[in-house]
């Protein structure tokens, strides 16, 4: 067990442990906070695997963007409306099916590609140019579709927010 392993298990523990808190916490504010640490743990894992670009975008988008908006929503509704938002256990059967499908496909991908992935991270100095080139050539279609979905979501949100009730 060398330093790499120790650091890996530390980050993994942070990520998985906070994810457990997210799921089981009754207080939605604490769940949001635990999500923050889960994202940080995953960003740490990316850094450890020399995926520098992924690590920073993880922080930039998930922690700096999405989680801020979620906290915003929680803060604005939690005390103002005077309703205690608690997370409860609902819809166990659909959730179990969904979790099984996602977990199954993830482990399927993991076991089918396990032999082709070598144990050491690549020594590429920086991953940014490669990622940029791939996004603009081989993966241009998914990239554009994702941006159109985001645009649709944006317009939809604006429409709902502006509608007179």
């Amino acid at each position: 067990m060398d330093l790499f392993d120790i650091v890996f298990y530390c980050f993994a523990l942070i990520a998985v442990g906070s994810a457990v808190v997210v799921v089981f916490s009754r207080n939605i504010m604490y769940a949001a906070f635990a999500l923050l640490f889960a994202f940080f743990g995953i960003a740490g894992l990316y850094v450890l695997l020399q995926a520098d670009f992924l690590a920073v975008t993880q922080i930039l988008i998930y922690i700096g963007g999405i989680l801020v908006l979620m906290l915003f929503g929680v803060m604005l509704t939690n005390r103002v409306v005077d309703v205690d938002i608690k997370t409860g256990t609902l819809q166990i059967v659909p959730a179990a099916i969904l979790a099984a499908v996602v977990g199954g496909s993830l482990s399927g991908v993991f076991y089918s590609t396990w032999s082709t992935v070598s144990g050491t991270p690549s020594d590429v100095a920086t991953t940014t140019p490669a990622i940029g080139e791939m996004l603009m050539t081989s993966y241009i279609l998914p990239f554009e579709i994702a941006s159109i979905i985001l645009l649709v979501a944006l317009i939809g949100a604006a429409m709902i927010a502006r509608r007179k009730t």
Partner: protein, 340 residues
């Protein structure tokens, strides 16, 4: 191991320098504002009032720390820590000189030589919003909450134009490394001249990101008491105060690094100075440029009145963002035309 020791030494030195500068910056700000408003400013403690800042810090340290009984104590204490650490950690990727040979080691004059420095900066500035939002929420006070929400909305709006104005610089230098961006600006090829629109949008967005006047709505005294730090006292309040000035220093060094040539002294290599001298000149150049930008920050604060909140949002979304996009198009066109 050697890399580790050198890094620790660099961190300690830079941290000490920044904290000293922060304390004295408060004094400078009070003196400059006094000069602008035709007053005298602090002149009682020590010669020319120079010991005013240490006295203030001492006072903040021995004051009682009050946590409101309805507040969330953990988050209430965490928020100022987030604020100051984000401000200090961002400085880690700023190069304040070239590389220098010290005791047989080649030492780069920046703490962390990250090859995605620009993204690192963007990621960390997006974390700054947590400090203000959480402090506003955890205080359980309506003025604090309003201040925190305003701050969050303002930071999110201006982050967009901040990021977009950096992209122009990245396009010109073709790299996300701050070291490389500085090297590209040798002579007078400063990015401020190459992308003037980006320079202006970046400066305005920096003012908004540091919550300085004319963008200090999160703590607009006439409307919001103290804004997000209404319920803070003692050194926790002091930490917010320090964070504001640390943010100013970081923002100024980013402006200098990205747009004003960083540590480059124009045409220094033609003077034929010995390597050690050249490095000293470079560091001094960096410090001087940062000092000028800091003075500019203070000057603006005591010259321009505060925006109304809707004006601030209109400026951010209807003026700054389109300007930053126009800058991207112009820069891209100039690069295509082969001018850079």
């Amino acid at each position: 191991m050697e890399f580790f020791i050198i890094s620790v030494i660099k961190i300690v030195i830079v941290l000490l320098i920044i904290l000293t500068v922060v304390a004295n910056l408060v004094y400078v700000e009070r003196k400059v504002s006094a000069a602008i408003q035709n007053r005298i400013g602090p002149n009682r403690v020590g010669p020319w009032g120079l010991l005013q800042s240490p006295a203030d810090v001492l006072k903040l340290f021995i004051k009682e720390d009050i946590v409101p009984s309805t507040a969330n104590p953990f988050i209430h204490s965490l928020a100022p820590v987030i604020s100051i650490s984000v401000a200090l950690v961002t400085f880690a990727v700023v190069p304040f000189g070239g590389s220098v040979e010290l005791f047989g080691h080649q030492v780069k004059l920046m703490i962390a030589d990250v090859n995605i420095g620009v993204l690192y900066i963007l990621a960390l500035t997006s974390l700054g919003v947590y400090g203000v939002t959480l402090s506003g929420w955890s205080s359980n006070n309506k003025y604090s909450l309003l201040g925190g929400l305003r701050a969050a909305a303002q930071l999110i709006s201006y982050e967009l134009s901040l990021g977009l104005s950096i992209i122009g610089v990245v396009m010109i230098s073709g790299s996300l490394e701050l070291d490389r961006i500085v090297e590209m600006q040798s002579g007078f090829q400063w990015n401020a001249f190459l992308t003037p629109i980006g320079f202006i949008t970046f400066i305005v967005a920096s003012f908004a990101e540091t919550n300085r006047l004319p963008f200090d709505l999160p703590e607009a005294e006439p409307e919001l008491v103290g804004g997000y730090h209404t319920e803070y006292s003692g050194m926790k309040f002091g930490t917010f105060f320090l964070a504001e000035y640390a943010n100013m220093i970081t923002a100024s060094s980013l402006i200098v690094t990205l747009f004003l040539g960083g540590w480059q002294f124009p045409f220094l290599e033609t003077f034929g100075l010995p390597a050690m001298m050249a490095t000293v000149v470079q560091v001094l150049t960096f410090v001087t440029k940062v000092a000028f930008v800091l003075f500019f920050f203070i000057w603006i604060r005591w010259t321009i009145p505060r925006f109304r909140y809707d004006q601030l949002m209109n400026l951010g979304w209807k003026v700054m963002l389109p300007l930053a996009l126009v800058n991207l198009v112009i820069t891209g066109g100039l690069i295509l035309a082969g001018l850079f």
